[in-house]
């Protein structure tokens, strides 16, 4: 996720509809300016969760930028609510949680509420565009369970890219090589579990 964006690539956000929820009018305005600069024409800027819920229900959205700490942490509740809106076409859209102060507890709370990514404010245009591009490439499954609804929180580790040996000395290849020795017999496996006296 931390990889820099390809500056020679193109992005077309003209038809993208974005919900922004932040109680700070200046932050809301900065976000609007940045998104307009990216070419977004439809920015729904909301200062209250009530307004944001109305937009979420009535409009077709592609992205939401939420400050979860905006008033009494109720942004977390908004994200949870959005992920549980079974009848809404916006339920699975990318949600970026943008926080002014990101403690470990806040980051965990945003993840467990159902945010796709957490970013720290102040958000530079480059960083925001990088995160939007990352969200556009997301292929994570969506999970709905009694305790959680949102993108799968378990990222699998595929190891270094196929055909490369990785950059770290402890990198393991994703491809499983052929066995170097025959499998152990059941007897040998049982032997491993047998308690024995240790001669000291």
């Amino acid at each position: 996720m931390g990889a820099a964006i390809d500056l020679s690539a193109r992005i077309n956000l003209k038809r993208t509809s974005v919900l922004v929820l932040d109680a700070n009018p200046q932050a809301l305005d900065v976000m609007r300016q940045v998104l307009n600069g990216f070419g977004v024409r439809s920015v729904h800027a909301c200062e209250t969760a009530k307004d944001a819920r109305a937009v979420f229900r009535d409009r077709s959205l592609e992205l939401a930028l939420i400050d979860p700490l905006f008033v009494d942490d109720s942004g977390f509740e908004f994200i949870r609510w959005a992920r549980r809106e079974e009848t809404s076409a916006n339920r699975c859209i990318a949600i970026i949680a943008a926080m002014g102060h990101h403690t470990l507890a806040n980051v965990r709370a945003a993840r467990d509420a159902g945010a796709n990514i957490v970013v720290a404010k102040p958000l530079s245009p480059e960083l925001l565009l990088q995160r939007i591009a990352w969200a556009a490439r997301e292929e994570r499954p969506f999970i709905v369970s009694p305790g959680y609804a949102g993108p799968d929180r378990r990222f699998k580790n595929d190891g270094p890219p196929p055909g490369t040996s990785g950059r770290r000395s402890d990198d393991l290849s994703f491809e499983v090589p052929t066995a170097a020795a025959p499998n152990m017999s059941q007897l040998e496996v049982d032997e491993l579990f047998k308690p024995r006296k240790v001669a000291l």
Binding site: I5, D6, L7, S8, A9, R10, I11, N12, L13, K14, R15, T16, A23, N24, P25, Q26, A27, D29, V30, Q33, V34, L35, N36, G37, F38, G39, L61, E62, L63, L69, V71, D72, C92, I93, A94, G100, H101, T103, K121, P122, L123, S124, P125, E126, L128, L129, I132, A133, A135, A136, R137, E138, E139, P141, F142, I143, V144, S145, P146, D152
Partner: protein
């Protein structure tokens, strides 16, 4: 038995990438940066108002020790952090971050009220110094504040 559903949703953002009619990433970033510059003066004036408000609320909070007032200080500190950061006021941003750390570490019974006062006074000092706020003295002051906010409550 709990029921868990797992599915791959349509990524509505995916089609925005690699569109030949789209903006180059560099263009998009430049346009966004110039849009921010266009509102700089207006936003810095608003930030000034927030610093006044922070002063008043922090004074009230250290007097009342109330959870509501403390929550207001935390909210304003977060706003100052974000607003100062976006316009490159890095010292103000660092002090506001330190104040946020201090507010998040405390709770209604255990806030370090003296530490809060010191942070707010430092923010006022930076404000008075304006563009002159630089150099080892300022760095040492901020390092001291960060030490306070990292102290166990």
């Amino acid at each position: 038995m709990s029921s868990v559903r797992k599915f791959i949703p349509e990524n509505k953002l995916a089609k925005t990438l690699e569109d030949r009619n789209g903006l180059l990433m560099t263009q998009a970033i430049q346009r966004a940066a110039s849009n921010i510059e266009a509102v700089r003066d207006e936003h810095l004036a608003a930030l000034d108002g927030k610093l006044d408000q922070l002063c008043l609320v922090a004074a009230a909070a250290t007097e009342s020790h109330s959870a509501n007032d403390a929550a207001q200080v935390y909210r304003l500190a977060r706003e100052v952090l974000a607003d100062a950061g976006i316009f490159g006021l890095k010292h103000m941003n660092r002090v506001a971050h330190s104040l946020c750390e201090l507010m998040a570490a405390g709770d209604r019974h255990r806030h370090q009220w003296t530490g809060i006062t010191v942070h707010v006074e430092a923010i006022q000092a930076l404000r008075r110094m304006g563009r002159m706020a630089a150099g080892p003295g300022v760095d040492a002051m901020i390092a001291g504040l960060e030490k306070i906010s990292r102290m166990p409550v």
